[in-house]
Symmetry: C2
Subunit: 458 residues, 2 copies
């Protein structure tokens, strides 16, 4: 397209309200927040450093500690009123050596690119070999029973449902296999599980993510396989249901280690004891760089504070960045922060989390009282010029979710989800897959909402 | 994110209306259109073939002819009521050999990756050498005047404005340099122009696109340079304003050649003489594969017909796919189609164009009468569950724009624009940068709107 493009979009700009509230001081402030976000590279460069200089930040790892230091250093360079760490204990699970997997078919060996699922036990150095039984549902597993499953590897191959508008729907339709597959298979004597990745993407990346064991059952090794290779394995099993599958994982868990939430804040000028939190999680899975999950949430939340400083907003309430640790495994960071709030009896107005990836935002989801939601919805008109049309009741975020008792309005940034599971928990979650402008629209949207909450209360 | 993700998104699904109109037959039909689109690979595979087997489809080129045959073949395989070509004459400009450019600085030669701008004249085999004068505005150019410009190469280095919400705003703020740079510089005796690419992306891709000459002035060669290399050249000029710049382009224009619009239709069951058009443009620039511009518009528009067939909608009016030729240069295809409609006195209800890239759609822009717009806006409620919130008055599309006299409602699909100019007119506009689900949401959205227009009229 070329010819009418300028006019076409100019007309949309006007009609969708770029100037609709321009008389209004608040609209002008919000316009400035977006302009500053869209023209700045600082936050994107922070993400580049976090992803490229540190990379994946598995809870309990050296990289996670490096990330804490990196974020603390950046916060200290921002001329904030307060920067500190909040200590906690976290699990220390390590992936070990690169996983190996293959199927011995009548035509020869077929290799697979697999990954150990988060917190799973390893196979031991020699690996594990067995026949494979493929299932798509819990009922199928139950019907097969011990006689068909004992001594075998269970292969969970149910594909994510593509029909939902958000890809979280597809994720939700398949992630139960990853979380419960090992436990449910162990009930019938399985020796291991292979799980099709919980994603709507069709490619060669295996996705990791946390799974759970039941202490009363044998803990069996569990691996993820990409959607494409899941189909390849299904095809091989159709040709030869008795093929032998081998896999080797050396993941293991050591004693808990010390870790931290990272916190930085601008003190409120009128109500310094009343807090509005904005945050994301510092930890990530280890296969990629934790770019969309949740590097973007971290740098966007830091950017909210920078945007306030940059355009000279002096908040009445304390605006606090929180980089939560351990969201992916045990949520120790979110729990610790909420406990501290309770112990100090600290008042929180609201807590916003960005943890859906650095994609174009389209609104907020509110876990709050009806009165709070009514107030929050009254702010929608200021953000509609930026295509923020969803101000809805719903879940917020894993980490801020623990603040429910505090009475704060818990808020999740709603973003376009279409590409999220192309990256989520895989080696494909890298800096290059984050678009600067999409990410910065999220920073500005959160800053704008916090500006309104700070000014008008909720 | 993991823990609450499923529940978080499930609640959004419900609240944003997945079931809000489920009692309603129309909502169920539209739900089926989206489900079919999101679960099918056909359209995405069509795009893969168009991009990978044919590639860039410059108007008048062999590749453009290959694309016409490819699309005609696909349409003929779809069991439509009518498939035909509409002949036209188009310009035949060729890029020639890979462009060469470098700056001779005091420290040695610095090479640049440049591209001839569309329809520009070549430098001749030996290339062109001259001193460079950098400008950012037309006023600056005018003030420099003949004494500073004559015999020199003018370098237009104004960056795209990042502040607008849509990236079309940034494009519109800088593309005048590409279109008018050569003409305005020739007035003062310049020998060539270098133009910073009209994009909000910051990378190493030069972007092409059409420029214009004025027959009463000397036609001087014109090249595009990437945003990063534009800054490098500016830096070199700061160090040495008298550096010599060399570039060589062998682009040339031959006699006009025959080409075609490609058309396929489902005849209306009640009003076969009344037409609803859906289309995109077949041609593209030659540097990339014309994936987002406008391969996606083509395969989405074909997909609309397939979706109707797939879920068994028998339209009352004729639904016509039009693949327009020559959008990028002289819009001969759009003009030809509109002339034919006028000559046949054919009634058109509406014409929808997708030419903003295969990104997540958020609404439609209407170039129509107030009464038509009112009716079209009444359909918004059916599409809001799919985050289609912008039903606005505004421009439509370059090709359907020529149908204004026909009285049809002209409609443009509004999509997320944030990544569009990362690809537009550059070697980066390739299949891999199109996400299947984002693109298919556009197919389904257009199908849904056409279903409603067909059923309720406008």
């Amino acid at each position: 397209m070329i010819k009418y493009f300028k006019y076409f979009l100019a007309s949309i700009l006007i009609l969708t309200g770029f100037n609709a509230y321009s008389q209004d001081v608040d609209s002008a402030v919000i316009r400035n927040l977006y302009s500053e976000a869209l023209t700045s590279n600082i936050s994107y460069e922070n993400l580049r450093e976090l992803c490229k200089n540190i990379g994946g930040r598995l809870t309990g790892s050296k990289h996670a500690n490096d990330a804490i230091k990196f974020i603390e250093g950046k916060l200290k360079g921002m001329n904030l009123d307060n920067v500190y760490l909040q200590e906690l204990k976290v699990r220390n699970w390590e992936r070990g050596e690169k996983e190996v997997a293959n199927a011995m078919t009548k035509k020869g060996r077929v290799n697979f690119n697999v990954c150990a699922l988060g917190i799973s036990v390893g196979t031991g150095d020699k690996g594990l070999t067995g026949k494979v039984i493929e299932v798509k549902s819990w009922e199928e597993l139950k019907n097969l029973g011990k006689e068909n499953i004992e001594g075998r590897i269970v292969f969970f191959s149910r594909a994510a449902d593509q029909k939902g508008y958000t890809t979280g729907y597809g994720y939700g339709s398949s992630v139960d296999q990853r979380v419960k597959g090992a436990v449910e298979s162990a009930r019938y004597g399985a020796i291991g599980v292979i799980v099709r990745s919980a994603t709507v993407a069709y490619d060669g990346y295996p996705h990791t993510g946390v799974m759970r064991y039941n202490d009363s059952l044998t803990k069996i090794p569990a691996i993820g396989i990409s959607t494409k290779e899941s189909d390849i394995l299904s095809g091989l099993l159709k040709e030869d249901k008795d093929l032998e599958f081998y896999f080797r994982t050396t993941c293991h868990q050591d004693a808990d280690v010390k870790s931290f939430n990272v916190i930085g804040e601008i003190k409120g000028s009128e109500f310094p004891e009343e807090v509005i939190v904005v945050g994301g999680h510092v930890d990530s899975w280890d296969l990629g760089e934790g770019a969309h999950d949740d590097g973007t949430g971290i740098v966007q939340s830091m950017e909210v504070l920078r945007l306030f400083q940059s355009i000279g907003i002096k908040p009445k309430h304390t605006i606090r960045f929180v980089g939560f640790m351990d969201e992916e495994i045990d949520q120790k960071g979110g729990r610790k922060y909420a406990d501290a709030v309770k112990n100090k009896n600290e008042k929180h107005l609201a807590a916003i989390e960005s943890d859906g990836g650095g994609f174009t935002p389209h609104g907020f989801s509110f876990e709050a009282s009806d009165a709070q939601i009514e107030k929050l919805k009254s702010f929608q008109k200021y953000l509609e010029p930026y295509w923020m049309h969803l101000f809805v009741k719903g879940g917020s975020g894993v980490d801020v979710g623990f603040l429910k008792e505090s009475g704060a309005a818990l808020i999740g940034l709603i973003v376009d989800s279409q590409r999220y599971f192309d990256y989520h928990h895989s080696a494909n979650d890298v800096f290059e897959n984050v678009n600067r402008r999409e990410m910065q629209l999220g920073s500005a949207s959160m800053a704008a909402l916090i500006y309104l909450i700070d000014k008008y209360g909720i």
